[in-house]
C-alpha cells in the first residue's frame, strides 16, 4: 500500500499539492496556468455572449417601416414596428464592436492554445512542463493585463470602431470619441501574450518530445498547435506594430494613416489583415486538432491519412500568410492584386477539404460512440463544412464583391470561428474535463446541451446567409423591414443556442460538485495524457513515458467498465502505479476522493 514511486504521496495531484490563492497566481505548473486561462476565457465568453444576445434582441425589429423597393421577394409587411431602438445608436455600435473584440482577442485566440493547449500539450508530450514555465506565467499575466485594459475601456467611454479598428475612424479623435487607445493597448498586450504562448509551445514541441516520439508519431493536436505556434510567432508581431502605430497616430497625430496629414488609411487594412487573416488559422487550426483527437478516439480507430492531416495543418498555416488581401477586394486595391489574392485564397480550400475527407474516412468501419465530446466533433465537421464551402463565394471575385461586408460574411465567419473553433473548444473541454478536474460529468445532460447548441447555432446563423445574399449590410442597427423575418429567426435561434450553453455550463459545474471520480482513461484515448491519473500529478507522470508506435494505437486497450475506464497494456507499469496510488476508483481507499457509487 505504501508504494510511492517518485516520492508522490497517495492522492497527490497538481490541484491539491499546494493550496490557496497565492499558490495559484505564482504557480509555474502548466496545468494550473491552463486552468486559470480556461476560467478567464470562459468568463469573457459569457461577457461577449451577453453582448451578442443584446445585439440580436435589438435586431428583432427594424426602425424603418419602409419596404425595399422593387424587390420581388417582398411579402408585404404591414406590422406596426416600434419606432424606437432598444439601444442608442452609439450604444449599439459599441455592443457589436465589443462583442467582436472580446470574442476574438479575449476568447477565441487564447481559447484552445492557451487554455487546453497549456493543460494538455506537455502531458501529450510526456514532458514535465513547457520549456519556459516562467514565460508561460508571464503570458498569463499579460493576458490579464490585456483584459484589464478592455475592462477599463468598458468602464470608461467604451469602443465603437468595430473590432477591426479601421483608420481614419479609429485614428482620429474627431471621429471616434471612445477609448480607442486603451482598447488597442489591450489588444497589443494580448498579442504579446499570444506570441509568448506560441513561442513556448514551439520550443517545447521541438526540444521536449519523449524518447521514441518522432515528428510523425506526434498526436495531431500537437501538430495543430505546432502550426498555430508558427502563426502566432510570425503574424502577431505585425498586429503589435500596427496597433502601436495606431496608438501613436491617435495620440500624437503622426500622420502614417491619417489622410489629412498625407497618410494612407488603406495601408492600415493591409497591416491589420496581414495579422488578422492568419489569426483566423490561429483560431481554427487548433480546433481541427481537437476534432482529429475526438474523431479518432470515439471511433476507436487510427486516424485516416495521418500525414496528410498533419501536413495540411502546417500548409494552412503557411497559405494563411498569403491571402490577407481578400479582405480588401472592395477597398480600392488594384485588380491585379485582387486577382492574385483570389487565386491564392482558393488554395486554403484544399487542406481544409483534405481534413474533412480524412475525418470521414476515419469514421468508416470504426466503432463510433456518441458520447458528449464526439457530438461536438461531429458538429464540428458539419459546421466547418458549411463554413468552408461558403468561403468559396468569398474567394471567387465576382460573387465576393456583392457579398463583401454583408451578413453573408457574418454568417460565414461565425460558422468558421464559432461553429468550428468554439465548438471544438467546447468539445475539447468536455473531452479533457475528466482529465484535468478528475470528475465525470453527466453524459446525458452534456449530449442534450450539445444538440441544443448545434440546432440553435444553425438557427442563428443560417438565416444570416439568406439576408446577406439579399444585400443586408453588416453592422446595421436599422434595416429595411423586408429583412425582418430573417433577423427574427436568427434572434430566436440565438436564444435557443444560449440555453444550450447555459445547460452545458451547468453540466460541467454540476460535475465539480457531484461528479464521480474520473478514471485515468474514461474514453479509451490512446494518447499519453490518458496514461496518467486524472487529475495528473504535478510532474504529469509517475514514469517518463517511452513511445514505440504511432499515436493512435487502440489495439492494446482493454475496457474495465465505467469506473476504471480503459487500460493500455503498453503503459502497464504506469497503471500499476496508479493502482498503488488509489488513482483508480475501486482499487484502493483513503485517498479522500469519491469512490464511485459506493464501491
Amino acid at each position: 500500500m505504501s508504494h510511492e514511486p517518485n516520492g508522490y504521496p497517495p492522492g497527490d495531484n497538481y490541484l491539491n499539492r499546494t493550496k490557496g490563492f497565492l499558490s495559484w497566481i505564482t504557480t509555474l505548473d502548466h496545468k494550473r496556468i491552463g486552468v486559470m486561462y480556461l476560467c478567464s476565457v470562459l468568463f469573457f465568453f459569457l461577457v461577449g455572449g451577453t453582448f451578442a444576445i443584446m445585439l440580436r434582441t435589438e435586431l428583432l425589429t427594424p426602425k424603418s417601416t419602409t419596404q425595399m423597393p422593387q424587390d420581388t421577394n417582398y411579402k408585404g409587411q404591414h406590422e406596426d414596428f416600434p419606432q424606437k431602438f432598444l439601444f442608442e445608436k452609439d450604444t449599439y455600435n459599441q455592443l457589436f464592436t465589443l462583442h467582436g473584440a472580446i470574442m476574438v482577442f479575449l476568447v477565441i485566440i487564447p481559447s484552445i492554445p492557451a487554455s487546453l493547449g497549456n493543460i494538455i500539450l506537455p502531458i501529450m508530450l510526456g514532458a514535465k512542463d513547457v520549456a519556459f514555465p516562467r514565460l508561460n506565467l508571464w503570458s498569463y499575466y499579460l493576458y490579464i493585463g490585456g483584459t484589464i485594459c478592455f475592462l477599463v475601456t468598458l468602464a470608461t467611454t467604451g469602443l465603437d470602431t468595430g473590432w477591426t479598428f479601421y483608420t481614419p475612424y479609429s485614428s482620429s479623435v474627431e471621429y471616434s470619441h471612445t477609448n480607442v487607445i486603451m482598447a488597442t493597448m489591450g489588444a497589443f498586450i494580448l498579442g504579446f501574450s499570444s506570441i509568448f504562448t506560441g513561442l513556448n509551445f514551439l520550443v517545447t514541441i521541438h526540444t521536449m518530445r519523449p524518447a521514441g516520439m518522432t515528428w510523425f508519431r506526434m498526436p495531431l493536436f500537437l501538430w495543430a498547435l505546432y502550426a498555430t505556434s508558427i502563426i502566432q510567432v510570425l503574424a502577431t508581431p505585425v498586429l503589435g506594430i500596427t496597433l502601436l502605430m495606431l496608438i501613436v497616430e491617435r495620440a500624437f497625430s503622426i500622420g502614417i494613416f491619417d489622410p489629412k496629414l498625407g497618410g494612407d488609411p488603406v495601408l492600415f487594412q493591409h497591416f491589420f489583415w496581414f495579422y488578422s487573416h492568419p489569426a483566423v488559422y490561429i483560431m481554427i487550426v487548433p480546433g481541427m486538432g481537437v476534432a482529429s483527437e475526438l474523431i479518432t478516439t470515439f471511433s476507436r480507430k487510427t486516424i485516416f491519412g495521418y500525414r496528410q492531416i498533419a501536413l495540411s495543418s502546417v500548409g494552412l498555416a503557411l497559405i494563411g500568410f498569403l491571402v490577407w488581401g481578400h479582405h480588401l477586394f472592395t477597398s480600392t486595391q488594384s485588380n491585379i492584386a485582387n486577382m492574385i489574392f483570389s487565386f491564392l485564397t482558393f488554395f486554403v480550400a484544399i487542406p481544409s477539404a483534405i481534413k474533412v475527407f480524412n475525418w470521414l474516412a476515419t469514421l468508416y468501419k470504426g466503432s463510433i460512440s456518441f458520447q458528449t465530446p464526439m457530438l461536438y466533433g461531429l458538429a464540428f465537421i458539419i459546421l466547418f463544412t458549411i463554413g468552408g464551402l461558403t468561403g468559396i463565394f468569398h474567394a471567387t471575385l465576382s460573387t465576393s464583391i456583392h457579398l463583401h461586408d454583408t451578413y453573408f460574411v457574418v454568417a460565414h465567419f461565425h460558422y468558421v470561428m464559432m461553429g468550428s473553433a468554439l465548438i471544438a473548444f467546447i468539445g475539447g473541454i468536455f473531452y479533457w474535463w475528466p482529465k484535468f478536474t478528475g470528475k465525470l460529468y453527466s453524459d446525458n445532460l452534456g449530449r442534450i446541451a450539445a444538440v441544443i447548441i448545434f440546432i440553435g447555432f444553425n438557427g442563428t446563423f443560417f438565416p444570416q446567409f439568406v439576408m446577406g445574399a439579399k444585400g443586408m449590410p453588416r453592422r446595421y442597427q436599422n434595416y429595411y423591414a423586408e429583412y425582418q423575418p430573417y433577423h427574427r429567426a436568427s434572434t430566436y435561434g440565438s436564444y435557443f443556442m444560449a440555453t444550450g450553453f447555459v445547460l452545458a455550463g451547468f453540466t460541467l459545474l454540476q460535475s465539480l460538485v457531484r461528479g464521480k471520480k474520473a478514471p485515468p482513461n474514461p474514453w479509451g484515448g490512446a494518447t499519453l495524457e490518458w496514461q496518467t491519473p486524472s487529475p495528473p500529478p504535478t510532474e504529469n507522470f509517475y514514469h517518463t513515458p517511452v513511445i514505440d508506435d504511432q499515436p493512435y494505437n487502440y489495439d492494446r486497450q482493454t475496457y474495465l467498465g465505467p469506473e476504471k475506464g480503459w487500460r493500455d497494456d503498453h503503459y502497464a507499469h504506469e497503471w500499476e502505479d496508479m493502482v498503488a496510488h488509489h488513482d483508480i476508483a475501486g482499487t484502493g481507499n483513503g485517498n479522500g476522493q469519491t469512490n464511485g457509487n459506493g464501491h
Binding site: P69, E174, H177, T330, A349, S367, I368, S398, P473
Partner: protein, 350 residues
C-alpha cells in the same frame, strides 16, 4: 453564350438574391448559383456519408472493436487533394472573368461624382453642374461611372441590385461602374437601394441612398433640366427644406422635436441666451449664444466652433464649408425660421 438569358432561366425569382438591375448582375448570379449548387452537392454528400457511417458503425457494446480498415490510401488521398484543386482553379478563372466585367467600365461612360460624408451621399453631375443630394438618378442602358471620394472616414457605396460595391476613401478617388438594365415595356423609373457598407460611425446603418433609373437618356435629361430649374426657382424655405432632406441634415437633426445625434431644428431659431448654451471645442469654454443667422452660418461651416451644450464634443458633424452655396445656406435659415421657437406648428411629414 448569353449569360443573362441563362441566368433569367436559372433564377427568375431568386430565393437568395435581390432583384437584378443589370446584365453584369445576372452574370454574377449565374456564378453565385453555380457555386451554390456545388456547395449543396458537397454538403449533402459529406453529410450523407457522415450520417451513414454514424448509423452503420455505431458502437453497440462498450468495448466493440472497429472493423479492419486501412489507415491510409495513397490513391484516394491523391484524388481528394487534386480534385478540389482543379475545381478551385476553374472557379477562380470564371470568377475572375466575370469580375473583369464588374470592374472594367467600357471606354465611353456617363460620369457622376460622389462625395461620401457622415452620413449621406452627395451625387454630383459634372456635365450639368447639378448637385443632386442623396438620390442618384441615372439613365438606363448607359454605362455609369462613379468617381468617389470621402470628406471624413471610409464609406462604401453598395448597390445590391447591381451586385457591386466599392469603398469611398478620404484622400483618394475610387471608381465604380454599372449599367442599369431596363426591362422591355418598363416606362416608369425603377428605384433601387444604395447602402453604405463600410462602418462609419453613429448613423452608419442609416446612410441609405436611392438609385433612380430613368428608362431612357431623354427621360433622364428631362428630369435633370426640371431638377435644375426647380432648385433654382425654389423659394428659400422650400430650398432649405430640400437641403435638409437631401444633404444629410435629416440624419441627425429632426424637425419634430425628437432628439437625434444633433439638436432638433424644431424651436432652434430664436433661442436666446437664456436657453441656449454652447461650448467651444478647442477652448472648452461654455457661453450662451443667441441663435441667429450668424450662429447658424458658423455652425454649418465650422461645426466645432460652438457646440450645443449636452451634445458630443468634438461634434460628429462634418463641415459643410464649400458644400452648400450661399443661397442654400440662406434657404436653410429661412426654413428654420418657419419651425422656430415662436413659429406656428407645421406638419412634420418630410
Amino acid at each position: 453564350m448569353n449569360w443573362a438569358m441563362f441566368a433569367a432561366d436559372l433564377a427568375p425569382k431568386s430565393f437568395w438574391l435581390p432583384v437584378q438591375g443589370s446584365e453584369v448582375a445576372a452574370e454574377t448570379d449565374v456564378h453565385f448559383y453555380f457555386i451554390y449548387w456545388l456547395n449543396v452537392f458537397f454538403f449533402v454528400a459529406i453529410s450523407a456519408v457522415l450520417v451513414y457511417f454514424c448509423v452503420k458503425y455505431r458502437r453497440k457494446t462498450p468495448d466493440q472493436k472497429p472493423l479492419p480498415a486501412p489507415s491510409h490510401n495513397t490513391v484516394l488521398e491523391l484524388v481528394w487533394s487534386i480534385l478540389p484543386t482543379l475545381v478551385c482553379i476553374a472557379l477562380f478563372y470564371v470568377g475572375f472573368i466575370v469580375y473583369q466585367d464588374l470592374m472594367e467600365p467600357p471606354p465611353e461612360t456617363f460620369k457622376i461624382n460622389v462625395v461620401g460624408q457622415k452620413w449621406s451621399w452627395n451625387f454630383k453631375y459634372p456635365r450639368s453642374g447639378l448637385d443632386g443630394g442623396n438620390i442618384l438618378h441615372v439613365p438606363a442602358n448607359t454605362p455609369i461611372e462613379l468617381t468617389m471620394t470621402s470628406t471624413d472616414v471610409i464609406h462604401c457605396v453598395y448597390i445590391p441590385a447591381m451586385r457591386t460595391k466599392k469603398d469611398v476613401v478620404p484622400g483618394r478617388y475610387s471608381k465604380m461602374w454599372f449599367n442599369a438594365h431596363m426591362p422591355t415595356g418598363q416606362t416608369t423609373p425603377l428605384e433601387y437601394n444604395i447602402f453604405c457598407a463600410e462602418y462609419c460611425g453613429t448613423s452608419h446603418s442609416e446612410m441609405w441612398g436611392k438609385l433612380i433609373v430613368h428608362p431612357t437618356m431623354d427621360d433622364f435629361k428631362k428630369w435633370e433640366a426640371a431638377e435644375i430649374k426647380s432648385i433654382d426657382l425654389k423659394p428659400p424655405v422650400e430650398l432649405g427644406k430640400w437641403v435638409w432632406e437631401r444633404k444629410g441634415c435629416k440624419g441627425c437633426h429632426s424637425i419634430d422635436g425628437t432628439k437625434g445625434t444633433g439638436p432638433t431644428f424644431k424651436g432652434l431659431w430664436g433661442m436666446t441666451t437664456a436657453d441656449h448654451l454652447v461650448k467651444n471645442y478647442s477652448t472648452g469654454s461654455t457661453r450662451p449664444v443667441v441663435v441667429d443667422e450668424n450662429y447658424l452660418k458658423e455652425s454649418i461651416n465650422e461645426p466645432n466652433a460652438e457646440i450645443r451644450d449636452g451634445f458630443p464634443s468634438p461634434s460628429p458633424m462634418p463641415s459643410f464649408k464649400g458644400q452648400l452655396s450661399d443661397k442654400q445656406i440662406n434657404g436653410v435659415i429661412e426654413f428654420l425660421k418657419t419651425i422656430g421657437k415662436d413659429a406656428p406648428p407645421v406638419p412634420t411629414k418630410p
